[in-house]
Symmetry: C2
Subunit: 705 residues, 2 copies
């Protein structure tokens, strides 16, 4: 891995006088961070934006296990180093092809007097916010240590409005609650909905990325960057004083991190702006990660795909092959002798139908879930050897499917559900990835549904965070792209490992078939989950009445078709699924045209309108093309969106195809009502479009030559 420092273009080393307070300003001068040592030697920082307080004086430190002094107080500053960094780097895929990484840095070296231990806190201040981390240099008196708790504070200036989900060691698959900070505890219980694996720790515990808005109109976002071999951070709120404190995910023993110096924590990030669009436009999280560690990235390619998946999610079909066995044992159970259940979706005939549809409509890939032995008792049984990742069911012929897909110019996408059995997955990983390469698969969707094995570990503990990273790096060795579901939410690691092309790690579209998500869910996700990296949200559902697929499932998709189309633009991802069944698309081929047309990789993104929980409108320019696409998603109330098209090239003409909610559209009663209009436009044009609640619009702009 190339060191970041070898790339530093400007570097100042200043011998500051070691005054008690040290100030750092963002490159544009609008944000100020101040660091000081409080009485008793407690490291403290504060943050302001355009002279308004954002973070009041907040303590920094770590409590260590079996260590009385810990790393909490008794510190003095022994050195301050400041520097400036400004460079651009080229993305492998992304919302733009070049990203500027521009910050001012302050590195404060602290000595703990009693122990002679050194801790360095590195602050990087960007125009849109602050990142900082703890660094533990190589030293005699601090080598191996166990973190009991990280004690990083984020002291709020008031009772802000927050878009939050419950702090949990195992899942982020919750609907967001919008409330005052002071209301979190009373709303907490209702915010916790059932999940395959979940454990909360506090009635004021929330997850990051946490999006807030102050009474004064400031937007504040708290998250972390570069979560590597460390436990995932949630936040616990002291709601008397409105102070958040870091809360790390414990391991089975209740410990929170095993460290060996030299090492460092992930970056803790605070974004702030008076314009919500700046939060979406920020590349801070990526910039705080190390540059790409993969030398040849030519095999990493964005993917638009369909899959044999939604019909299982809705309960129309099954992952499993038989209903006859109470339990199966891999390598022992003989599937050739059992009675097929006739609902098994991953069969040759059906998969070929999907391949045909993908090929006819220009999709890159077809995902097939439930192709491999083990789905009869895969969930909730604490099974160690639950899948082997290489043995297909009798009705799925890997070679036949591979050849058929190849003949149609379509790539198959592998599925590795682990059932949370991480040791078992690691044991089979080499063979599983090799099997993929042998059979023409370039990408894998992995899953961690249910409680983790080793038993008692959590999805977000250091041990398991380490596992996800192992899977990504091992996949890179095999030139395999990874889309990990139920893994820890991303923190910009895709900069370093761009083969991590997606994650779930939030409430995805599947919940629309499990009772539905809130109508404004997708107006929040870009401010929260997407801060860390792309999400495999699996949009594109056209049939909102799930009982049409499965009479026993009365769930309703809280969205209009126009809203579903817009998601391909608003929910940035290099991996985009068209989740619905081919037969549902065939009923609306004119609307489906947008999904066929929309790009999945971009030269540029422009954030036109944004208000978390209410609406957002984004324009993006297709990579290597002059085509643009715009998406608007709308919250709980109807709204008219007015946008200027000044992002378009000044000297060019475009045909805009506008997919919008029909006037009588209603996400509950008439979600399939949309209009499609075309219009000639230029950069001087303006558009005014109405979106219903949970509606939106999608526009494609094609250059007219």
């Amino acid at each position: 891995m190339k060191s970041l420092y070898s790339l530093i273009t400007v570097f100042f080393l200043s011998a500051f006088s070691l005054v008690n307070a040290q100030e750092l300003k963002s490159p544009n001068g609008e944000i100020t961070m101040s660091f000081s040592i409080e009485k008793n030697g407690v490291p403290t920082y504060q943050l302001s934006y355009k002279n308004q307080d954002v973070i009041k004086p907040s303590h920094l430190g770590l409590e260590l296990k079996d260590d009385e002094t810990s790393l909490m107080d008794d510190f003095e500053v022994i050195e301050n180093k400041s520097s400036t960094f400004d460079e651009s780097w080229t993305t492998v895929w992304g919302e733009e092809n070049k990203i500027r990484n521009h910050y001012n840095e302050l590195a404060v070296s602290l000595k703990q007097n009693k122990t002679d231990r050194i801790v360095l806190i590195r602050f990087r201040l960007f125009d849109e916010g602050l990142g900082f981390r703890y660094e533990f240099p190589s030293q005699k008196n601090l080598v191996y240590f166990t973190i009991k708790e990280e004690k990083t504070q984020f002291a709020m200036t008031g009772d802000h409005t927050a878009f939050w989900i419950p702090g949990d060691y195992d899942t982020q698959e919750y609907d967001y609650t919008e409330s005052k900070l002071s209301e979190i505890s009373e709303k907490f219980e209702n915010a916790v909905t059932g999940n395959a694996s979940q454990e909360q720790f506090s009635k004021t515990g929330v997850q990051t990325a946490l999006m807030m808005k102050t009474a004064e109109g400031l937007y504040i976002n708290l998250h972390e960057a570069a979560l590597l071999d460390y436990s995932c951070m949630s936040l616990d709120l002291d709601d008397k004083n409105m102070v958040f404190e870091s809360h790390l995910t414990p391991d089975v023993n209740g410990d929170k991190g095993y460290m060996q110096a030299p090492c460092n924590s992930p970056w803790r990030t605070i974004m702030v702006s008076d314009d919500a669009r700046d939060i979406l436009a920020s590349r801070m999280t990526l910039n705080l990660n190390e540059p790409c560690a993969i030398e040849d990235t030519s095999w990493i390619k964005p993917v638009k795909y369909i899959g044999v998946w939604w019909e299982m999610i809705t309960g129309k079909s099954s992952w499993s092959y038989t209903d006859d066995l109470p339990a199966i044992q891999l390598g022992v159970t003989d599937y050739s002798k059992v009675k097929p259940n006739k609902t098994h979706a991953a069969n040759n005939t059906k998969v070929k139908r999907y391949i045909d549809f993908a090929s006819e409509n220009g999709f890159d890939g077809v995902l097939v879930e439930g192709w491999n032995e083990g789905w009869e008792d895969w969930f909730g049984k604490s099974k160690d050897y639950v899948f082997d990742f290489v043995t297909p069911y009798p009705d799925f012929n890997v070679e036949e499917i591979h050849n058929y897909a190849k003949s149609k110019g379509v790539k198959m996408i592998m599925h590795h559900e682990t059932s949370g059995s991480t040791r078992n997955y690691e044991r089979h990983m080499d063979k599983a990835y090799q099997f993929m390469k042998d059979n023409g698969y370039d990408a894998v969707k992995s899953g961690y549904v249910g409680n983790i094995l080793p038993r008692g570990e959590h999805h977000y503990s250091q041990w398991i965070v380490n596992h996800y990273q192992y899977a990504i790096e091992k996949a890179a060795e095999y030139e395999v792209m990874v889309n990990a579901h139920e893994a820890v939410r991303p923190t910009g690691i895709c900069r370093t490992y761009p083969n991590l092309i997606g994650n779930e790690s939030a409430r995805g579209t599947e919940f629309q078939a499990f009772g539905g998500s809130k109508p404004n869910h997708v107006t929040i996700l870009p401010f929260t989950r997407l801060i860390g990296g792309p999400m495999d949200y699996t949009p594109g559902v056209f049939e909102m009445d799930i009982s049409k697929l499965n009479p026993n499932n009365n769930s309703h998709v809280n969205s209009t078709i126009a809203n579903q189309l817009a998601l391909y633009v608003t929910m940035y991802s290099p991996l985009q699924m068209a989740a619905d069944l081919p037969e549902n698309y065939e009923r609306f081929m004119d609307a489906f045209q947008f999904i066929k047309d929309v790009a999945i990789d971009w030269d540029k993104s422009v954030y036109l309108e944004a208000e978390p929980g209410y609406y957002l409108t984004i324009a993006r320019k297709q990579k290597g093309s002059n085509n643009w696409f715009v998406g608007n998603v709308n919250g709980n109330n109807a709204r008219t969106s007015s946008i200027k098209l000044d992002f378009l090239d000044k000297d060019k003409k475009y045909i805009a195809t506008i997919y919008a909610d029909a006037k009588n559209a209603d996400y509950r009663t008439n979600p399939q009502a949309y209009t499609i209009k075309t219009k000639k436009v230029t950069s001087k044009s303006k558009l005014q479009l109405s979106s219903v609640a949970a509606g939106g619009y999608a526009i494609s702009f094609k250059e007219v030559k």
Copy 2:
């Protein structure tokens, strides 16, 4: 794997009347097992030998987690099946080349009335004892279950004398205590000596194999066979009633086993005889394991070896390369830039010296420990990524050593210390084994020193027992032989996987350099540790005063040279080390001749004299040869051993070379005093030889043609 049942030569299916008590007799009729259902439906068995009670009525059952009924009572017998099995199988290596497997079997199917669950208890009665196990057939009402505790009782008939070590979840490396059962609790604390990882559970907890002797002169041995994917069993004594009950090793959550039917427990074994030699001669433990699972075993070969090891164990040299670093990070620490400590033993020059010595003296292999990066901070740091198993220190050139050894006709033996970090080992296992094959290594000594990772797991819990087995099976894929130290003690699995050529899992010779072991230690081990399989005991220490090697180590080896020689015969293993330094052997080349001559694989073994804790004398015939070897080890008191040589072929003449304690030998003050005499003998000869305390004798018999 071939099913055992396909080989059954005689099979009776009897429709017994379902009377309450069911009797089973051993083939020779001397042992009787009786099974019955007690009031409340509790399954109960008892055992007698020549009409003397051995096991009084004892309960059988399992307590399940979160399951009120468990599998303890409310049972009725629904079917009894009895059968006889008698066949011989050929060993890959062993104490004899053919083993007879002869038993009568009773399979009792039990139904639990309230739950309609079925449990089958299978009893196999051999001439030398009983094996039984729980089997859980495939069924609707018992599929996945968690064992809270196994409740298998072994009710003793009195206050027997036992040779015991403290029950512990992490180590068996204790000296044995000889005491009455009633004295265990008072002697417990003294019996617990320091170890790198240890945790006891009860003051009356002891480990298996447990050797006992009754006041009436019966020898009783309790152990288990075929411990696979189950937690290791210790025994907890109710010392009021003299009833042992099974105590399984818990996982980090306190649970004791995750099961999925169909499945079974390991075999619980009870050997009994009025002649202690029958315990040594028994092949019950092997017979209760499945036949060999490896098709081509031609690559599995017994190994006599020396190693760069004893000089580190004694503290004369170091495993580590440098003393300069408080901590190292693999792949980050640059060893080419650190100051060597000059005590690092695994260097090219020294290793070549060992290779020369091995080659000159007919050894098959040379083990080198400390050859790879990471030894500076490998222990006690809870390091996850502690070794990579492929990167040598700068002064150890793998290729150069490989070529040198090859030119001398010697095989290098690999060393994989894991520091208990099992996930890390599994992650590197494929590359590590491949590295071995690429560099001419056929065998690996693996180690699990210190606390286990995942943290909180135990050396003997199901999760980690499963790991050891994974390592053995994975090694077999690479045609690698395994000698696992600090792993769970063996239970005859080497029948199924004969590439498991050794284990430590008891107090080995190394403790003679850590303060010494009891003088009679080696008279007990064959009755305890060796019941489950061979031990890499590493005998052959000639210099008993450890301060001669390391002035700072005043440990004394409690043994005479003659005793050390005898161990090559009495401590059966297909893997035998000559542990001492070449320079110590060079001082006693006449005695060393026995180590050079002694066989390590056998056609036949005859147990001439045996009394646990006191003495034993064993004769063995070299495989494919007419040569015999005899070993005698003696306990705490001097003794004269009288043996008949009627094991020798009737029609042949032999030259016996007798290595015996000199009259003035004393294991404390004069351990190197021995005599070597030769004598012509036949099968009619008798020998009378004196052994001092902790002494013994070794004899080689060469046919005179």
